[in-house]
Symmetry: C2
Subunit: 137 residues, 2 copies
Amino acid sequence: MSPKEPYEVRPVGWVRSRLARRLDAPKQGHEGAPHARVEVLPEFAAGLGGLSVGQDVLLLTWLHEAERAALEVHPRDDPGRPLAGVFSTRSADRPNPVGLHRVRLLAIVEGRWLHVSGLEAIDGTPVIDIKPVLVGA
Amino acid sequence: MSPKEPYEVRPVGWVRSRLARRLDAPKQGHEGAPHARVEVLPEFAAGLGGLSVGQDVLLLTWLHEAERAALEVHPRDDPGRPLAGVFSTRSADRPNPVGLHRVRLLAIVEGRWLHVSGLEAIDGTPVIDIKPVLVGA
């Protein structure tokens, strides 16, 4: 019934940030996250054609430090909040820990370094996809 | 330098839709895509707690029929449009074919069937994550 699985995700680049530890990272990019860079691997640089400085993009990351067995979490890691199903939260802890980050492209350097606004992912986080923002999604 | 890779993505559910073939699917959910259901696997149903009928969620899918070697595509499969890097498009063809779909939750049945509005993914598409919509992302 299923196409062959599991599916393999391979990084197309890496987050380069001064955020070194998950504990240091804000919960969301608009909560004081620093500017950061995305280093796209040379073999994927051709995929960046058509992106423009100033536009917003969605970065999809693989939150490699996440707890994949978690199905319920305290939202925002606040033990005072009641447990909620992970799919009703943006917790990194979830079965497939894909992070979704809306950022603005501030610069594109040497064809494969993206300078981006407020990104809450830590240094070394794998980037697995980049998508333009569409109206409504 | 990298956490161990590749990473393995496992379906948490499946799209159930009358869209049977990729050719039949609209490019975006707001372009006439039908209502559909998401069958969440029993072992992940606990992750749905806290979701409410009427709210918008993001479905992340694995577009299993995609061409993963593609780095440039004609946007919207229109050969009249110049080639663009896949990361500047929403093409399914991309190195990690994660689909991102904003839908509205119309019903939650038996604790693990999600009835959702306009979804352009075809029947049998693996669902890998569900996230609440946040302001701005």
